[in-house]
């Protein structure tokens, strides 16, 4: 068990800047991987996780080169090998499971061929044996009907299935070490939990060592024996998983854990100030100095070494780590939100809204109507109160974004009405809305890179809505822009910056500021934190909450992340295949009795705690279309009671907590089933 298979020694990797300076992105990293062990590598984006993982296969990305150190695989240095030698090791001794299997499978080659290729390269099996082996592998990763699966092209599989094919491909050469680079990021919550479960079983059955790279402590917690925490290209903390997650003794890890929203906690996670320094701008002293609340003057000038602490079996890079020992009951705290004022003015009502993507037939076009018996989104009834945060949750394809787009007027509704303020019907066509309504409803998108014009400065970006809606100009315009920046905690000097000169969190803040520039009544947030690191996510969530408390804005918040939703929302609506399943105050939706789909979703959430395992109750099948009749969840429901679920739309039932559930099972019975 203690045999070391790969050992990284003092590895530094860097690149030459345009000015010819050598800039390192990995600095003196050393770690050992033992046989049969799973090591998790975590850190914010840009901390050098993937560079480290790739170097462990002897692969250095174009433009980078090793500065010093070595990667010893069975005491041979991978970084010194010829490509011939590496071809013998890659796929056979060390295999990789990529981040985005969808892009990592070659599009013009069938699944079967791609697995066969690995078998041909790394085993001596003949054609017949290989065909058998392909079926076996596809079976092992639990893909349905392995025989036909082999003849499909990558694009004919769902994201979860592609990831499974990548796992099968990696297992083909029976490697001693598996490298996984964010293997579940981008997958749906339930799919993610299933893939992790699969990996855990494989690790146990085959005794393969794994290196699991992720920014998601929740996923890391589920699989790792040991955890390595990286910050700005250095290892800052390394030790047994349980120790790291429950008693983190480095301020960065501590802050990171606190900034993750948790299912069991209402209220917002604490955020860490600042952001990780860019490579090349790292000054002397501790690289975490700017963001550390334990920092002393000593830390500013002196860099701490990675120190091994015997009694904790942990290595830590911090002068003041002792202060964090036994601090850890504080991890389970959060910032309580001010509850929104209880006056019940309804600002926005969705009444029987249905939305269809079906192409209009010729006659329908003439009559300007949409005839689609089975629209993507159907029968949505939600009344949104002034000043509340209502969240729409569900897996990808559940129609969350579709509903937001319709409220914003970007997508026509098929049936039903969207009413704004005193029951005034809003046209579902953007061009027919009056300018004041356009101002009153603003949208913030998932990806600020795509929604901010890269050729405009922050000042130009923010002045557009101010000019458009309020006709401001000159000094007044400038004053308003500075005010807005102040609201989102950005200094005046950001005005002349371009989006590319901002970090991800800063960009999203500019996007928030732009939405608030219109002084809107309602802000529609589409996965606004999904592209952000946890520490930045916590900051953006806190910012949104603060602005709402100050200005009384109403949010419609779309997210697939149940823990984030729990943190920010007052009320939650759960959607499956464009149909509402459950709606109610968030503290109650997160309590049983729940709709069977909510139960599945809650079970699949990954908590950054090795003792809380996800409960996998339903298969992670992808349904392409909502069912024609009956309950929308009938295809996957683990509690399905029979034909009635297939034939009749279930009724709404109101629980004693005030959440409404749409299911044929009596609500009291659900409560006892879910005990």
């Amino acid at each position: 068990m203690n045999e070391i298979i790969e050992s990284v020694k003092n590895l530094s990797i860097g690149f030459n800047s345009q000015k010819g300076k050598q800039i390192s992105i990995l600095r003196n990293v050393s770690t050992d991987i033992k046989k049969g062990e799973t090591v998790g590598i975590v850190g914010e984006s840009g901390s050098g996780k993937s560079t480290l993982a790739l170097a462990m296969m002897g692969y250095i990305k174009q433009g980078l080169f090793p500065l010093n150190g070595e990667c010893l695989f069975k005491s041979e240095d991978l970084l010194k090998m010829s490509s011939r030698q590496l071809e013998k090791i890659r796929g056979r001794k060390i295999a990789m499971i990529p981040q985005n299997a969808g892009q990592a499978l070659t599009p013009n080659l069938k699944i079967g061929y791609q697995i066969d290729e690995a078998l041909r390269l790394h085993t001596d099996l003949n054609k017949l044996e290989r065909d058998k082996k392909i079926s076996e592998l596809l079976n092992k990763v639990r893909l349905p009907s392995p025989e036909t699966m082999a003849f499909r092209y990558p694009h004919e599989l769902s994201g979860g299935q592609q990831q499974r094919v990548a796992v099968a491909m990696a297992l083909a050469g029976k490697p001693d070490l598996l490298l996984l680079d964010e293997p579940t990021t981008g997958l749906d919550v339930t799919t993610q939990a299933h893939v992790l479960e699969l990996l855990r079983i494989i690790a146990k059955d085959t005794g393969t060592s794994m290196i699991y790279v992720s920014h998601d402590l929740g996923a890391i917690a589920q699989v790792s024996d040991r955890i390595v925490v990286m910050y700005a290209g250095e290892i800052v903390l390394e030790g047994p998983a349980r120790k790291i997650l429950k008693e983190p003794i480095h301020p960065y890890t501590y802050g990171l854990l606190k900034s993750i929203p948790k299912l069991s906690l209402a209220g917002l996670p604490a955020s860490m100030p600042g952001s990780q320094p860019q490579p090349g701008s790292i000054k002397e002293g501790c690289s975490f100095y700017d963001r550390c609340n334990l920092a002393t003057d000593h830390c500013e000038k002196n860099s701490p070494d990675l120190k091994y602490i015997k009694e904790l079996d942990t290595s830590v890079r911090c002068f003041n780590h002792k202060e964090l020992i036994n601090q850890n009951n504080n991890l389970q705290t959060s910032i309580t939100k001010k509850s929104s004022n209880s006056e019940v003015i309804e600002v926005l009502k969705l009444k029987d809204v249905s939305i269809s993507y079906a192409k209009q037939k010729f006659f329908d076009q003439l009559l300007n109507k949409i005839s689609d018996q089975n629209p993507t989104v159907k029968d949505i009834n939600i009344n949104i109160k002034k000043g509340e945060t209502i969240a729409l949750v569900g897996e990808s394809g559940s129609g969350k974004s579709t509903i937001l787009k319709s409220i914003a007027g970007l997508l026509k509704t098929k049936d039903g009405q969207i009413k704004f303020e005193n029951n005034r019907i809003l046209s579902s066509d953007l061009k027919m809305r009056n300018p004041n309504d356009l101002r009153a409803i603003q949208l913030i998108f998932q990806n600020p890179d795509e929604s901010l014009n890269p050729n405009h400065t922050v000042e130009q970006i923010l002045s557009q809505p101010l000019k458009l809606y309020f006709n401001l100009s000159g000094e007044e315009l400038k004053k308003n822009i500075i005010d807005l920046l102040k609201k989102v905690r950005l200094g005046e000097f950001y005005m002349s910056r371009y989006p590319r000169q901002l970090s991800g969190g800063e960009k999203q803040r500019v996007a928030v500021a732009r939405a608030f520039a219109a002084k809107p009544d309602i802000i529609l947030c589409d996965e606004v934190t999904s592209a952000l690191d946890v520490s930045v996510q916590a900051a953006v969530l806190n910012l949104l909450q603060q602005l709402k408390e100050d200005l009384g804005t109403t949010y419609v918040f779309v997210s697939h992340d149940l823990a984030v939703v729990r943190a920010i929302s007052d009320r939650v609506a759960v959607l499956y295949q464009g149909r509402l399943c459950e709606i109610g105050p968030s503290q109650n939706v997160y309590k049983f009795p729940s709709h069977p789909y909510t139960e599945v979703l809650l079970g699949a959430v990954l908590e950054p705690d090795p003792d809380i395992k996800p409960k996998l109750v339903a298969e992670d099948i992808v349904e392409e279309k909502p069912p024609e009749k009956g309950c929308s969840f009938q295809g996957r429901c683990p509690r399905k009671i029979g034909d009635i679920c297939n034939s009749e739309v279930p009724p709404w039932q109101i629980g004693e907590n005030g959440n409404a559930i749409r299911c044929h099972i009596n609500i009291d019975e659900l409560a006892s089933l879910q005990q």
Binding site: L54, M57, Y59, Q62, S83, L86, E87, K88, I89, R90, G91, R92, A95, M96, P98, Q99, N100, Q103, A104, L105, T106, P107, N108, L109, E117, A118, L121, H122, Y153, H155, E156, M169, G173
Partner: protein, 318 residues
């Protein structure tokens, strides 16, 4: 799938119909008609009457269009004015000559472009790339009429290796042509090859940096195997449509080059018939060139459709 192919062919035919209509209407709305244009000052009296009769200009326009269109569909373009012989006879050898010129250029140019593009991409920023890229970028910037003239000046006049001007009757045999077309072919394929080589280069480079190529490397696939199985099929697929555009665009180059080299092809005929004001021939040429254009694009579309697994299965599922 079949439906889609039929749809594309239908669209092509509609395009041709519109082109024919436009050329016909264009001729109609010009002041005067084919006869007055052709006869110029002599357009009076018996000569004019005879001409009008011969061309059937005394019947209404739509009837003439129908008549003409039906004949074209049957492959008969009517009579030319200048030679007073059937246009088909004028066109036949010219089409053949141009076809020889264009196909030799394409057969040499496209494979060369692909090979050069791949070499420059695989040895990116190394010596082969720097050398080839300098030449291709340079030849991309010189228009045909200059490169053609320069070629004549250097190879034919200074070095005297090859004839500079093609002095052949339009019904010369293929082998007679061959020795004469070397310079025109070089002139025509230079720009085309350069453009396509750049295209292929950037496409290959893009695929080389994709996740799936990185994955193939990490899977232990040997370099050349990776290039041929994982890189080239995906890199060359988008190139097909560009090839079609380039070929269609090459037609323009053919016209210019033929004139410079005095080559008896379609291109020179275009210029000749325009300067002779031989409107029936101009009409016939417009239709022929448009058909080639439409045909090439149709073939490219269908090829992309056949080769791209994504599009293929999309159609089957429907």
């Amino acid at each position: 799938m079949l439906l889609l192919i039929l749809k594309r062919i239908g669209l092509g035919l509609i395009t041709l119909f519109i082109v024919s209509l436009i050329t016909f209407v264009g001729v109609e709305v010009l002041p005067g008609d084919a006869c007055t244009t052709y006869l110029e000052r002599e357009a009076y009296g018996a000569a004019l009457d005879a001409c009008i009769k011969r061309l059937g200009l005394d019947v209404p326009a739509y009837e003439r269009y129908l008549d003409w269109a039906l004949n074209v569909v049957r492959g008969d373009f009517g009579y030319s004015l200048s030679g007073e012989m059937p246009i088909n006879e004028v066109l036949g050898p010219r089409v053949k000559n141009s076809l020889v010129l264009a196909s030799v250029s394409i057969l040499i140019g496209i494979p060369l472009a692909i090979v050069l593009g791949i070499i420059t991409a695989l040895w990116r920023d190394k010596l082969p790339d720097i050398m080839i890229s300098t030449v291709t970028i340079f030849s991309m910037t010189i228009p045909e009429f200059i490169s053609a003239t320069l070629l004549i000046l250097i190879v034919a006049i200074w070095l005297g290796w090859l004839p500079g001007i093609v002095i052949l009757p339009s019904d010369a045999t293929f082998f007679e042509l061959l020795s004469n077309i070397i310079l025109p072919v070089v002139a025509i394929s230079m720009i085309m090859t350069a453009h396509m080589a750049r295209m292929v280069r950037s496409s290959v480079i893009q695929v080389m940096s994709s996740d799936y190529v990185q994955m193939a490397i990490l899977k232990g696939v040997p370099y050349w195997k990776m290039v041929f199985r994982h890189v080239l099929p995906n890199a060359l697929l988008p190139a097909i449509n560009v090839v079609a555009l380039t070929i269609a665009w090459l037609l323009g180059g053919v016209v210019v080059t033929e004139v410079v080299f005095n080559y008896p092809g379609l291109g020179r005929l275009v210029i000749e018939s325009i300067s002779n004001r031989d409107l029936p021939v101009v009409q016939a040429l417009a239709i022929i060139l448009a058909s080639i254009y439409v045909g090439i694009n149709l073939i490219a579309d269908l090829m992309t459709l056949m080769l791209n697994p994504r599009l293929k299965s999309l159609q089957i599922r429907k």
